[in-house]
């Protein structure tokens, strides 16, 4: 019944999906945190930039952003992501970049709502003992903000996992691209879709369950 799978590197394709997800997750966590720091910081220019970035990026379809990294950054501006001679690597990295730029806007907003759960008084007390802005943020505010948004961040991660399929648009050999290829070659539309759907559920379901548990575990008692 599953003979149609023969000759296709299903695991390899999902491995690319996982790599796209993990690298973009780390990237968006870093960039999203920096954006959130800008948005709550004292420098008007940075606040303005953060606000502008988030409002712009999260309103652009991901496909447009991914295509832009390929057509705009790579082909027009010549950004090669350090892999000029290897087209496959280049596209993979561009996809990670695009996914990171996009997802970080959502990470930023999730974090900002977490920052709002931290009582202002604690930040003031931190300033009162002489901590500077960065220390107040990294030692007092962000640790509590992160703990309160593990759930929302898990949702962002799940969305990211599914969003990696958009990388197929620039030819990254992840799961969705293989699925498209298989559907074209085999007369097993429903079964093939089911296999891939199952694959994604296998990736996202544990994410939700584990992070849900972690969220409860690290919640700050007030």
């Amino acid at each position: 019944m599953f003979d149609f799978l023969e000759g296709y590197d299903l695991l390899g394709a999902f491995w690319v999906t996982i790599q796209l997800t993990l690298l973009s997750a780390v990237g968006s966590l870093v960039w999203g945190t920096l954006l959130a720091a800008m948005r709550v910081g004292p420098v008007p220019l940075m606040r303005g930039f953060g606000t502008f970035y988030v409002n712009t990026v999260r309103n652009i379809p991901l496909t447009v952003i991914i295509l832009f990294t390929s057509l705009g950054l790579s082909q027009t501006l010549g950004v090669t992501m350090g892999a000029a001679d290897n087209f496959e690597t280049q596209n993979f990295r561009l996809a990670v970049l695009g996914l990171t730029l996009y997802t970080s806007a959502f990470v930023c907003e999730a974090l900002r709502s977490g920052i709002n759960t931290v009582p202002v008084g604690q930040a003031e007390a931190a300033r009162a003992i002489g901590l500077n802005f960065t220390q107040v943020l990294t030692l007092v505010v962000l640790p509590q903000a992160f703990r309160s948004v593990v759930g929302p961040l898990a949702n962002v991660l799940i969305a990211l996992t599914k969003n990696t399929t958009v990388a197929a648009a620039i030819g990254v050999a992840e799961a969705a691209l293989l699925m498209k290829e298989m559907i074209e070659n085999e007369a097993q539309l429903i079964l093939i879709s089911a296999v891939f759907a199952f694959g994604f559920v296998c990736l996202t379901l544990p994410t939700g369950l584990i992070l849900g548990w972690v969220g409860k575990k690290v919640a700050v008692k007030r």
Partner: protein
């Protein structure tokens, strides 16, 4: 109230520690601090009293620059308040602040709360910081709670930890903004006793409070504020038994008869 009265006259005034000169501040149209002149000598304990909204909290917050001022000068130990950056952070470390709502760091244990500033601001060694933190927690009577989180403590215990956290920075002056107002009545004394102890040891203190027992027994001076102005300054006994201004008389009659 336990009868502990400081020998007020023994406190040698070895210079002015906190000096405010014609300080003005607005919140929009509200003139919340109006030409405030106030000098606090080293070792002096000043109680600030006045109706809600008169600007007492803003005054405290201006002294360690949690609020900026529009005009005037504030100096701590002869140095003007820095604008921003490192110098300001250093100054804040020299001015301890205790808030009405405790504001302990909820994700850190009691011990970590008292160690954080020592390590990150004073760059103290971890071992040294822990020893000092434990000694301070012992001094405020919560040594046994060191490994708990703030939410597991009573309000009175939390406020005593907050005092220890401020003391850990070896501040030159301590500001208390209604430190007992959020406490259940049975916990007020445990906090006041710690403050009285501090006063006896010669700490310079500015205390916003309506606790008259504390004011009478620990304060060198009472400053009465109303509508953003200092209306009256006097030694506690004189202020409470014989206020000069009508505003003070009116205010005292209200807090005495409620």
């Amino acid at each position: 109230m336990t009868e502990v009265s400081v020998a007020k006259d023994d406190v040698a005034a070895t210079g002015d520690l906190v000096v405010l000169k014609s300080v003005n501040k607005h919140f929009g149209a509200l003139h919340v601090l109006q030409d405030i002149d106030l000098t606090i000598a080293r070792g002096e304990v000043v109680v600030v009293i006045g109706p809600s909204g008169s600007g007492k909290s803003t005054l405290c917050r201006a002294i360690n620059r949690l609020e900026t001022i529009d005009s005037g000068d504030i100096t701590i130990d002869g140095k003007p308040l820095p604008q921003e950056g490192k110098a300001l952070a250093r100054l804040r470390a020299d001015v301890g602040m205790v808030f009405q709502s405790f504001n302990l760091f909820a994700h850190k244990t009691v011990l970590e709360n008292v160690m954080l500033g020592q390590i990150k601001v004073r760059k103290a060694d971890k071992k040294v910081a822990e020893e000092k933190a434990r000694a301070l927690l012992d001094r405020v009577g919560v040594a046994t709670q060191a490994d708990k989180y703030p939410a597991q403590l009573s309000g009175g215990q939390q406020q005593r930890v907050a005092i220890a956290r401020a003391l850990a920075m070896d501040p030159k002056v301590m500001l208390f903004d209604e430190p007992t107002s959020a406490l259940d009545p049975e916990m007020i004394n445990e906090v006041l006793e710690v403050m009285q102890q501090l006063a006896r040891e010669g700490m310079t203190m500015i205390v916003v409070t309506h606790e008259m027992g504390f004011a009478r027994s620990a304060a060198n001076r009472v400053v009465f504020m109303a509508d953003g102005r200092i209306v009256e300054e006097a030694v506690p006994d004189q202020f409470f038994s014989n206020p000069r201004s009508d505003r003070a008389k009116d205010f005292l009659s209200k807090i005495l008869h409620h």
